[in-house]
Symmetry: C2
Subunit: 667 residues, 2 copies
């Protein structure tokens, strides 16, 4: 029989095979990245290919054997659309170019609509393979596991594969139920971790982002990369302490069982999230074979049951900075008994697995531009660099950016003022409230605000308020609310002054002098940290700024620059990174290569310790001034426009009390 | 400084070092097998050496530096006797020969008094090492685990060592408590599985031999190889079925939870044994870091929670024949959370990990002679071979050798007749009873038997009885109790005859025709199995026979040969192997090398299936005849002597009824 040439695109790999050879066999022979769960039995439908062309070989379909019965009969999850063939059934009858579509590759990239999980690599550590095992005989190999190993070697070229204890327990019943055919889950190409009778093409994983306030979880199909369900819950550790340091204090005050209680609380919450995710997606808990978790160092340690006390005082020693793999059951998750938990590496005592996850999601290590990644929480984790180097630090901003230590401050939750505009001439105020679509001067505001109410001001709101007050000249460059008779919104408050943003019969929301100070200190700390990283990196500018997390989603970049929180940068290139930590966790769930990548990257991130760097203090002092001339910020001046019209302060109907300029004694 | 030559014996390794170099450093440089837990700090005292001599270098002590303060101050577990030096403190000041005593080697052989655990290799998979770790600093490596890794690399040349989740949890508290010095347990030279503050030189393991009737357990010090405590318990699975097949039946009849109940029962019993062993030795359960278990295939599978149903019917497929390593906690053992369970490999559906353990203990694979290893239980596992080949089979003897299916049969327990002598002329009987030192014709018998009583006859007793009856001509070569008026001990029993061994007012212990048949069938099966192995091995003789287990300990070799249970062999070379399976389990507990050895050996043992071998049937039929001329057995005729004098059957005092020849109507 004649030999024919098979050329695969986009890889460009080519081979000569006997006429009539199956395309899948040709692909496996030379290592073409072509998916298959059923090893060429026409069951899984994952090896779909198309006929293509290159110079000298055209794209005529008759270069392959006629559509076989297997293909005609195939009715799997992934229908065979026009032009598609099953590589296991189609045979080369002439020189042929085979196009492997992206969705037929094992290492696929899935493009998603949600921008933060665009272009997700699918290459999970757990892979499914279908095998048919020879029946036992009296004189043959005595162990079914050994016959299974032979089948894996023959049908998949997989050798030296371990078998887990629970798989051993399930193997013989599965072989019986599947009439000697089973689907295996194989981890890291080295270990069989699960077995099911017959053919199966789904297996699941969960990615957790354990925040000190909230825990987010995503349930993913590890074969397709689809996100089946996402859910969130409050971190129940809050009852032991609102912020991180108060939880560490709780542990120190309760040496007998404090760690265990905090650990138990977060593990229970994580397990409950698994319950709601699996219920929502209609799958079994035992279908979950892989779990990834990220979090700041204290959340990370407490999830693993490690006493975080050393993280509460210098030198802030981590138990380990490396990635960890352990049984998911060991942290109390009721999932498949062989499911493993993977935690991403950490960088330093204040720069945790949430930051490395954000780095994995944002990939500054692949960028030619100098990227700045900022994640503002109780403190701010900052990462700066490009493909050649990354430097990272944690800036001691304190919790002001989260609305804490602010007179009317609150979390970013419904009822919180999140955006503020102040007319630099009239000092009129307009604002928007979380949970209420229209701005306070909008036509529908009165109706819309009724169900939400106005309860305080969140981090982004106070930042905008202070920035706007600075632009309006109410706050001086050294952070003082200046005495003014421009508006009765400026009121005396003991020995200092405040600016009234909103007032009704029940509520008064002011920006006090102390609030301005708190924001001033926080922004100076953040800015000084960034400057310190820029010094270490050796650059006086950044090309791109990504603001991660809830804060980053709410903050207006122009105001952040105006206030001097972050360095000047083309406003178009300052953007929200969304839940970068959660996205990074999901990437690590779906890709073993991504894990190796972030492990290598994390190991070379240079950790800068703000506490021992004299330059940090210098930058901090310098950054205390509040910029008030947009001319100093060339990019900013382009976009920092004034609000379109003056605003009245209008409380919601019901609670409403008409508040006009005249009521504030203003003309 | 001049260089000096250091020669180590018995290894013969030699190296040149600068004058004044520590002997331990010289040894480690060239890989001399010299123990140390404290890495040369003079704490552990395990690196003791002596000055020796070879041609050209004499044994003057002044070839080493003077006794140091460290050595003078050393007060550890292993006192420094005269002539001994600590290799970490003693320095070479001239060419010197260093003798490494056996007890200072890592791979030591421990000679014991109990013959069955003679010459035990000590090389456990868990090893202790002491390290001193640098304190954390703000600017240094952020993770304590990473600083620990650096210490391991610097102080022990150990790199790429994993750290277990529980060690991570315990690490920082241990470093704090030990002032940065800790002792680690390292498994397989790859993974840190436990950490303790400061210096420690004990860690423990437990070896289980899970029999269908009893479970035996041994607690060992993994550093010294000492057996601290041994204990046994009934296998509580007996309440679900007396023998193996009835337990498999129980599982088949109870598909919902049958396996789980049997598994739970044996695991609980094993855990209770750990409780009594640790209590006896005065150690903590958490000090146990390694567990080994052996058992027949059904016990093995049930311990692991694997449904043994396939082992109940042809083709008797094992779930796996390989050795298994898993978390000890996964089988419910409350020990150190990182303790692992190791089970030895199996050979076939009827030849289990107890047999491989016996092979490891008896080492026929190292023998030039052809060894036969027989373990008689409900069936008989037999292994035959030498260093070139091993063949193995299970012979379907049934439970007759255990006293089951015998009219007066019982287990080998107090009250059972275990030895029998019958005068070939007078047919007088004398016997001994388990739990009663004197024979029935001894002076002290009446006193001694009172507290024990005579309740039945066990396997070794019935074998001796049948053999003696054969030798006396009462049983013919085709197994018939012949009609005889020689003695009124021969009585009619319906259509057949019986021989009365013992009779008092309450008890009559007879050998019935059915009993003779049962023994005849069992011994034919055993003998046929052995012959089949001899055929496969290609030998018409065996050089040495080892009889394992309780049966082997009670049976008299001469009678076993006389009856035709085992082939003729120099009686001096037939001996009891003791609890070879338990000893093999202990060896695997104490030596990683032994595990690799038995895994390799087990994989090349040739399994012979009696059920499908036509020759087995032929041998079986041939073996039904009962040999009755010692002339056919040249070795046997030398030792098969008659009892020294005639005996009377004497019941114990109290229950006693005088039984003389005349009472039996005999002259």
């Amino acid at each position: 029989m004649a030999d024919v040439l098979v050329v695969f695109t986009p890889s460009g790999l080519r081979t000569t095979v006997p006429e009539g050879a199956a395309i899948l066999d040709a692909a496996r022979k030379i290592g073409v990245d072509l998916d298959s769960i059923c090893a060429g039995r026409g069951i899984c439908g994952r090896c779909q290919v198309e006929v293509g062309s290159v110079a000298g070989i055209d794209d005529r379909a008759d270069r392959l054997s006629a559509r076989s019965e297997t293909e005609t009969a195939y009715r799997g999850r992934k229908p065979l659309v026009d032009g598609r063939r099953l590589a296991c059934a189609a045979r080369a009858v002439a020189d042929v170019v085979i196009e492997v579509p992206a969705d037929s590759m094992v290492h696929k990239q899935v493009i998603r609509k949600r921008p933060e999980i665009d272009n997700l690599p699918i290459d999970p550590v757990v892979r499914l393979v279908y095998v048919e095992v020879e029946a036992a005989t009296l004189d043959g190999v005595p162990g079914d596991a050994e016959r299974l190993a032979t089948a894996l070697a023959d049908q998949w070229d997989m050798v030296d594969i371990d078998i887990s204890p629970t798989t051993l327990r399930d193997l013989q019943p599965a072989l019986r139920a599947g009439d000697h055919a089973v689907t295996l889950a194989i981890r890291d190409a080295t270990s069989i971790v699960a077995v099911w009778p017959g053919f199966r093409d789904v297996v699941f994983g969960v990615a957790f982002d354990i925040g000190s306030t909230t825990i987010a979880a995503h349930l993913c199909n590890l074969v397709t990369g689809d996100v089946l369900a996402s859910s969130g819950a409050m971190n129940p550790q809050i009852r032991f302490g609102e912020d991180l340091m108060s939880r560490v204090s709780y542990v120190m005050m309760n040496p007998d069982g404090g760690v265990e209680r905090l650990t138990e609380a977060v593990r229970l919450a994580a397990d409950e999230l698994i319950g709601s995710l699996t219920a929502e997606a209609g799958i079994e808990r035992s279908d979950i074979l892989e779990v990834v978790a990220v979090g700041n160092p204290i959340m990370h340690h407490l999830l693993l049951g490690i006493d975080p006390t050393p993280l509460g005082t210098a030198p802030f020693a981590l138990a380990t900075a490396r990635s960890i793999e352990m049984d998911a059951a060991a942290i109390g998750l009721v999932v498949h008994p062989e499911a493993r938990l993977y935690t991403l590496p950490l960088i330093a005592g204040h720069v945790g697995a949430d930051t490395t996850a954000a780095i994995l999601s944002e990939t500054p290590y692949r960028s030619d531009d100098i990227q700045l990644l900022v994640d503002v929480g109780t403190n701010a984790e900052i990462v700066l660099g490009n493909r050649s180097r990354l430097v990272a630090a944690s800036s001691p901003t304190g919790p002001a950016f989260e609305g804490a230590q602010i007179s009317s401050g609150q979390r970013a939750a419904p009822g919180a003022i999140e955006r503020v505009r102040i007319d630099p001439e009239t000092l009129d105020v307009r604002f928007s409230v979380i949970g209420c679509e229209p701005w306070s001067d909008g036509a529908d505001f009165d109706d819309a605000i009724r169900s939400v109410g106005i309860s305080g001001i969140c981090g982004s709101g106070i930042i905008e308020a202070v920035a706007q007050l600075m632009l309006a000249g109410v706050v001086s460059s050294d952070g003082v609310i200046v005495d003014s008779d421009r508006s009765d919104r400026i009121v005396r408050d003991g020995r200092t002054r405040s600016f009234v943003l909103y007032r009704d019969s029940d509520t008064e929301i002011k920006v006090t002098q102390n609030d301005v100070r708190a924001i001033q200190l926080a922004k100076a700390a953040l800015y000084a940290g960034i400057r310190l990283l820029m010094d270490h990196f050796g650059s006086d500018h950044v090309d791109q700024i990504r603001l991660a997390g809830a804060f980053g989603a709410h903050i207006d970049p122009a105001h952040a620059v105006a206030l001097g929180m972050i360095p000047d940068c083309d406003i178009e290139r300052i953007s929200a990174a969304g839940n970068a930590a959660g996205t990074g966790a999901m990437i690590a769930l779906l890709s073993g290569e991504a894990r190796r990548e972030i492990e290598a990257v994390a190991a070379r991130v240079e950790k800068i310790e703000t506490a021992t760097e004299p330059r940090f203090q210098e930058h901090f002092v310098d950054a205390m001034a509040i910029p008030h001339r947009t001319a100093e910020y060339p990019h900013l001046s382009k976009v920092m426009t004034l609000p379109p019209r003056s605003a009245t302060i209008r409380p919601p109907r019901g609670r409403r009390q008409r508040t006009t300029r005249s009521e504030h004694g203003q003309t």
